[in-house]
């Protein structure tokens, strides 16, 4: 018999953390930009409660002294999303998606696994009302369709609905993401 006393550990996966943080950041900017570019997305955002705070995090987001990637967006009065960043002091989330691990987050964010399949495989948990979840899921799908080529987007969404003036919107979306306007 051997007994060892252990304490806090501080192991990390720097490369995976960086990748997930980068992808979440792009998604945050894309959501904000898409809400400016697409009328349909603005219509969906209108269904969300005012000042609605939405987050996507990787477990353990709240563990002291240990940072995991995250992304937060908030609804503005003009029915648009504002990208808050990767940290927020506000803990009153209206809708929070938490990936169970970094690996699970990377699978979903790199579209190796569709969102539905990932949910079925318990890769993330959702906290929030259905009234928020349903519009946000549609917003996410529409943003992914605008953001990604069809061959990749078709894997990420359940049904691929081609938006009107897709290419024009895509150019505007990328321009806004990279210029931050």
């Amino acid at each position: 018999m051997e007994i060892l006393k252990m304490g806090n550990s501080n192991g990390s996966k720097p490369i995976k953390t960086l990748c997930a943080a980068f992808l979440l950041r792009i998604l945050g900017f894309a959501l904000a930009a898409a809400s400016k570019v697409d009328k349909e997305i603005r219509g969906e955002i209108a269904l969300l409660p005012d000042g609605c705070l939405i987050g996507m995090t990787v477990f353990p987001f709240d563990r002291p002294g240990f940072k995991m990637p995250a992304m937060f967006v908030q609804k503005t009065s003009e029915n648009r999303f504002r990208y808050i960043g990767s940290r927020t002091d506000n803990r009153n989330f209206d809708f929070l998606i938490t990936f169970t691990s970094l690996e699970a987050a990377l699978r979903v964010l790199t579209f190796r696994e569709s969102t539905l399949k990932a949910h079925a495989r318990n890769r993330f948990t959702i906290k929030g009302a259905l009234i928020t979840a349903a519009p946000f899921s549609r917003i996410l799908n529409k943003t992914e369709i605008l953001l990604l080529p069809k061959i990749i987007a078709a894997r990420a969404v359940r049904r691929y609905d081609k938006p009107k003036k897709k290419h024009r919107k895509r150019i505007c979306l990328y321009a806004r993401i990279f210029t931050g306007i």
């Binding site: 051997e2 007994i3 006393k5 252990m6 550990s9 002294g65 169970t100 495989r121």
Partner: protein
């Protein structure tokens, strides 16, 4: 009305990368400072689990390494748990270790030794001690997840003994100490799956698990990759365990008449299969395909032949181990082949197919 309950009290997380969610699952059962209890021989598995915890900066309260067959291990675990101020149990190891952890959990939760508790009407526990288990490959099928073997040798069955969560990750099962005995484990899993199938009164979920266990064994025999074989056999072992928890008779007791009447192991195995198969009113076509695969094929190619013969030898060893009197005549390979032939012949008369899908369909749509 025919009520057939089925209860498997553990959340099972299996598949490649299952351990990545270990920290998350521990948090979901309010486990913030687990005591890691591991078999002394499962050092590699222990390292993999510790690494998965460290990756998320999770706290490990302490590590308690136990040797196989160590006495008073439940008491040691309980003492270590209290000394380090842990709040949950995380176990990696063989059947003996899991049994000790179950006993320690009962002692910590109820404040009494398991032998002093009436499990038919247990009082509410004093505190909740979450118990998470990481499965390793072990040659023993029992004790089952809902069983606890006391020091006196008595076996208690209660839903209180189920671990809260079980992880089956190929990274751990593939590096278990008993990987070399995988053919023996496959043999045991398939025999016990047939036991579960023979209970016609069991819940349909029992049949689904037992059937799937047999399919996993057959796939393991067909595949050439060792890692894949280990993965499939680990699943088969676990599925047969779940199936057995829903069976109304205890397999060892069912075996007893065969063991005590002085028959040789081949006859035992043959009688066992023959007794089980006629009671199956379903999937005999499907089952026959499985049995055909299990039957040693003397004309098969060399790659598949290796595991087939390994499996055959393992069955031989298992049947010999089940017979308490070692003086019983050892069956030859041809005798064993004949036993399987008999099974195959009796299974070929069936009509129904795809029983597992049918069961799932019933589960989804409901029954009359």
């Amino acid at each position: 009305m025919d009520i057939r309950p089925f209860y498997s009290g553990s959340k099972i997380i299996s598949g490649s990368g299952a351990l990545d969610a270990l920290s998350f699952e521990l948090a979901s059962v309010n486990a913030e400072k687990p005591l890691l209890i591991a078999s002394d021989i499962e050092r590699t598995a222990e390292k993999t689990v510790a690494k998965a915890l460290k990756a998320t900066a999770a706290v490990i309260g302490g590590i308690c390494r136990l040797q196989s067959g160590e006495k008073n291990s439940a008491k040691t675990i309980a003492e270590t748990f209290n000394r380090f101020g842990c709040d949950s149990l995380l176990a990696i190891g063989d059947a003996d270790l899991i049994n000790a952890v179950k006993a320690a959990r009962v002692e910590l939760s109820f404040g009494k030794a398991p032998a002093e508790i009436d499990f038919t009407q247990p009082a509410p526990p004093r505190r909740s001690v979450p118990f998470v288990s990481v499965a390793v490959l072990t040659p023993e099928i029992g004790p089952l997840p809902n069983e606890l073997i006391l020091d006196s040798g008595a076996c208690i069955t209660s839903p209180l003994f189920y671990p809260d969560t079980v992880f089956i990750d190929p990274r751990v099962t593939g590096k278990s100490a008993a990987v070399s005995k995988r053919s023996e484990i496959a043999a045991a899993a398939s025999i016990f799956a047939v036991f579960a199938l023979s209970d016609t009164q069991a819940h349909p979920a029992v049949r689904a698990c037992a059937h799937s266990a047999l399919q996993q064994v057959c796939e393991a025999i067909e595949t050439r990759s060792r890692a894949e074989q280990t993965r499939l056999i680990a699943n088969a072992r676990f599925l047969s365990q779940i199936a057995l928890t829903g069976v109304r008779f205890v397999p060892e007791i069912a075996l007893l008449p065969f063991l005590t009447d002085g028959r040789n192991p081949t006859e035992t195995l043959k009688t066992l299969f023959e007794a089980a198969l006629p009671t199956l009113s379903f999937a005999k076509d499907d089952l026959s395909q499985i049995v055909i695969k299990l039957v040693p094929n003397n004309n098969a190619g060399s790659g598949k032949q290796t595991l087939r013969s390994e499996f055959e030898t393992a069955l031989l060893r298992l049947t010999q181990r089940l017979v308490p009197n070692s003086a019983a005549p050892k069956p030859s390979r041809s005798e064993l082949f004949k036993a399987f032939e008999a099974v195959k012949e009796s299974a070929l008369t069936a009509e129904q197919k795809n029983e597992c899908l049918k069961i799932l369909q019933i589960q989804m749509e409901g029954t009359e």
